[in-house]
Amino acid sequence: MVIDKGHGSAGGGAGASPVSGPRGPGAPIEFRLDAGSGVPTYLQLVHQVEHALRLGYLKPGDQLPKVRDVVASLAINPNTVLKAYRDLEMKGLAAGRPGQGTFVQATLSQVALPELTTLRRSLSGWLAAADQAGLDEDGMVALFTSALRDFYERRGGSRARGGAASGETEGIA
């Protein structure tokens, strides 16, 4: 084979850098990178911010890690970080302040715990029914994904909501 695929990339190990690097004051979270996951880097950053928001690590007014610090600790292209932050700005989750950095602006709607429990229970019921009908795991996922997309399209919501939608397979399942 003409191209050497590199030594350390098997299983997404070597390139990944677990939580490390300098922590500036006012940056409550650290990014990490899963190089082998196939998810574009900027999306990983976006997801990590959204995840942190959901879990409460980030609150409105907190500063996101400085571009320079992310670059220095993860060794990724600065434009990737800028792209992720722009994405978050477009979603309304963050806003940049010139000369200061990027700050969390809003929060993802958090659903209360009892509601979450109820939803989970009804979901388990649906899963049992699907299993009875003969759907395997991937079939369930495909059906759910398709229905989810239809739901949002009917609603007229942007495809950007729930970031996992971009980069997904399209076409008929």
């Binding site: 003409v2 196939g38 670059v71 990724i76 292209n77 397979t169 076409g171």
Partner: protein, 305 residues
């Protein structure tokens, strides 16, 4: 304000009877981290040597930093070049290497060099030949960046480094890109880690440019269509770069965007950089060159199957 850090026009270089580089026309804009990728012998080092004046063209021309002649003092003033295996004077101590570089450069940030080497734990008194491979690479990089260049050119900078050294090296390169607006052109024959480092890609194979452009644009303009093998054989809506075919199923790598319709029976997937590059490398006749930026549209050649 945006200039082209490297601009070539039909550039070619011949050694004896062999063309190491042919018909190379590129315009690498400033403000990017550009990866020059290709198998060994593809012409990456030749291209870098031409850009830095260590070789002179057999055909065509090349200018750097917005029209300066390569190898001229004006060009080299703004370029820092770290050749393959980070050449240093092995008998000189680290401090002597700093002294030498400072003497021969128009600009040199002594404080930056000493601070950075201190952070890296590289002793100033040690002979540079006695440093480890990673330390030598870091020394070469420190000296390069201390010259405050506008363009940093690296020839296979991390080929000999272990993963930690690689990471640290690239972290410094990328930080320089952020902090000082240094444009970077680096060559490598390893694809996997370039995806998160580069935002501009040049793919070279057998002396010719197969792909050149911003990574985002390249990825956005290609899709993989997976569908029945028989239908795949008849597909002609968009240019096909590469086909991988089995009895019942085939994958077509096509030049299409997310907006292009997916033929019935097919699924469309986005492409990763490694898959894209490998596909082009397997199809010597295929090329995807940037269009509007160079004032012309370059349609890739069809793949004859």
């Amino acid at each position: 304000m945006s200039i082209n850090v490297i601009e070539t026009n039909g550039l070619g270089k011949r050694y004896g009877g062999t063309w190491a580089l042919r018909e190379c026309s590129l315009a690498i804009p400033a403000g990017h981290v550009a990866a020059l990728v290709g198998p060994n012998g593809a012409g990456k080092t030749t291209l870098l040597n031409l850009a830095v004046g260590l070789a002179s063209p057999s055909a065509g021309g090349v200018t750097v930093l917005g029209g300066r002649a390569p190898g001229s003092p004006a060009a080299l003033d703004g370029i820092a070049f770290v050749a393959q295996d980070a050449p240093l004077y092995k008998n000189l101590s680290v401090a002597d290497m700093i002294h030498l570089t400072r003497n021969l450069s128009r600009r040199f940030d002594q404080e930056y060099a000493e601070t950075r080497l201190g952070e890296l734990g590289i002793p100033l008194k040690r002979k540079s030949g006695r440093l480890s491979g990673g330390q030598q690479a870091q020394l070469a990089l420190t000296l390069a960046l201390a010259r405050r260049p506008r363009l940093l050119m690296l020839d296979e900078p991390v080929a000999m480094l272990d993963p930690v050294a690689r990471h640290d090296f690239m972290a410094i390169v990328l930080t320089a890109a952020v902090d000082d607006g240094v444009s970077v052109v680096l060559s490598s024959h390893v694809l996997t880690e370039l995806e998160r480092v580069a935002d501009y890609l040049i793919l070279l194979s057998r002396g010719r440019v197969q792909m050149a452009g911003e990574v985002d644009d390249l990825l956005a303009s290609h899709r993989v269509l997976t569908g029945p093998a028989l239908e795949a054989d008849r597909y002609a809506e968009r240019p096909v770069v590469h086909v991988r075919r089995a009895e019942a199923q085939a994958h077509l790598l096509v030049r299409a965007t997310a907006a292009d319709p997916v033929p019935p029976g097919f699924q469309a997937h986005p492409v990763g950089l490694e898959e894209l590059a490998l596909a082009y490398l397997r199809e010597p006749g295929a090329a995807a060159l940037p269009g509007p930026a160079r004032g012309r549209h370059a349609e890739p050649s069809e793949v004859a199957k």
